[in-house]
Homo-oligomer: 336 residues x 2
């Protein structure tokens, strides 16, 4: 047993609009010897996720705001390097929520020790095999009630959740899958790698028109990661009885003024639409069902994924900011 | 058998914004002798409803637009004055959708001959015992999934649907029922006659603030007849897991510019809200269940109602316009 210095990223001030590096600070902790029952985990990958932006505000939400001066918590995965827990061997893969740190030390009960599949990197537990994949699955099944033959529109389709949504929608029987993304390269990837039937670059403008062109027969399901003009476009494109799973609204996360909502809310009534927002906390009971299906799809070679990797815990804030600006394709990760 | 002259109101031009009397015309028909299977019905009451405004536009909706130069169809009730249908006696009460006319003549199959309850006026079939009551019931049960102990907010609560919603919500176990209306008199009526726990006048402004004051513990269910600032206020007041039944959006029916939507749509995600729009066509199978419950409540003296009555078929357009401006308390009807 030895002392170890841990580098951790903390929130220093609440961002007003777009976060800046000054809103964060890098802190060093020295962990002493392990207490009985504790393990020490060296992270291999740390996750940066859009929902974290919400936690940086001091407002009511489904998770408590981050406290100023404390380490940013969130998904990460690493390996046990020392153990004072009887049943946890050194080398075990440890998934946890201790967040933006290179090394963490805590009671073994705060980690989930996960089996490893040869050939699959640990990082997949932070996205397609983890919460991100589950988010896509829950949104399509429990929230939007996807049916065979549905036409599905996914906003922010080249992100971590979006790439999963398109593939899962197809595997669950969608007839046509349409995605939006923020660059020509991402748009190409959607149709060439992720099985989207049509995709468009929302930065070309006229999201309404582009969606209408891509969905001449309308849409039945909308999986929204963006909000704003994307939700408005979907409300115009919906067929009667359409269902929206509202998962994220990244378009508004860094605005200081509240943006007006869609100008076509009345379509919700006349077309009998359902808009349902969700966060994963209420749906974790679906994780086993999801794991079983996703593992099978993965084994069958049905699932593609991308990772955009930034190296070094000291670059975590930069990775987070780049992700908020859409610099990632697939999952944005920090490799420690 | 004799010929008869029928006075009918037709749509002459599509209103741009608020309808004016010039958008309508009064036509006279002469019906000849009855064909076999036909009945002649003299209307007693003709219904004017908010949804009719939507049908005056030439846009996609859940029902086809009214055709120019044809009689405005919609709910009405009268009595058979001549019958060439074997099983339909003169004097039978006839509920139908032939609309804005004093006398109509058509195949008996286009009428529903309804039993009468002594002491209950026929007009109730056009509201609390008819589609209006069913709308309230369906919205609370199938759409908003009202649970015992819920706090319910109803916009446009003094209208035909709203007065029904408040009472049904209470009878189904709501803990607290809050309503908005457009005058001090209506607000008083809500708490004194319709069992609302709290009510406010939206014309006083600050719907958000007034709702927050009336619902210090938040709302669980929102039954919306108004849209606009009312929906926005509800999105701020919702507790986690809240459910909105979007039934009407009268605030926007007569605007020529599309109004911006709520600025707080992100609450749908963070609070796990469900917004579900509906029109009655998909829920008519619930009519028998509703009729049974409502008849029981009525017999037990649990149901209050109001009618705002305008006399004369020639005043139907005026009644419609007054209703759109909120001049009615409870159901607006034309007595023929």
């Amino acid at each position: 047993m030895t002392e170890i210095v841990s580098t951790q990223i903390q929130l220093q001030s609440r961002p007003d609009g777009w976060p800046t590096p000054d809103d964060f600070r890098t802190a060093s902790f020295t962990y002493g010897d392990l207490e009985p029952g504790q393990v020490r985990v060296r992270n291999e990958f740390v996750s940066v996720d859009p929902y974290m932006r919400g936690r940086m505000n001091d407002v009511r939400s489904y998770v408590a705001p981050y406290a100023l001066g404390e380490t940013i918590t969130g998904g990460a995965i690493g390996r046990v390097v020392e153990s004072a827990a009887d049943d946890v061997p050194v080398g075990a893969a440890a998934l946890h929520q201790h967040g933006w740190a290179d090394v963490v030390q805590a009671d073994a009960s705060t980690f989930r020790f996960v089996p490893e599949t040869p050939g699959l990197p640990l990082s997949l537990r932070l996205h397609i095999l983890g919460m991100t994949g589950l988010t896509a699955y829950v949104g399509l099944t429990e929230i939007a009630h996807l049916k065979e033959g549905d036409t599905v529109f996914v906003s922010g389709a080249a992100g971590a959740v979006g790439t999963a949504v398109g593939q899962i929608a197809r595997l669950l029987g969608a007839k046509r899958v349409i995605g939006s993304a923020g660059s020509a390269e991402k748009v190409a990837l959607l149709t060439e790698k992720y099985g989207y039937d049509a995709a468009f670059d929302y930065k070309d403008g006229d999201v309404r028109g582009q969606l209408a062109d891509a969905a001449p027969e309308g849409i039945d399901v909308f999986f929204d990661n963006v909000g704003g003009d994307h939700l408005e476009a979907a409300l115009d494109a919906f067929n009667d009885g359409g269902r929206a799973a509202l998962c994220g609204a990244i378009a508004g996360y860094n605005t200081t003024e509240k943006a007006a909502g869609p100008d076509n809310m009345a379509n919700i009534i006349t077309r009998g639409l359902t808009l349902k927002g969700f966060t994963l906390a209420a749906y974790l009971h679906l994780a086993p069902e999801f794991q079983e299906k996703m593992t099978g799809w993965f084994a069958a070679g049905e699932i593609a994924y991308d990772e955009t990797i930034v190296d070094g815990i000291e670059n975590t804030v930069d990775a987070f900011l780049q992700m908020m600006k859409g610099a990632n394709t697939g999952k944005m990760l920090v490799r420690v």
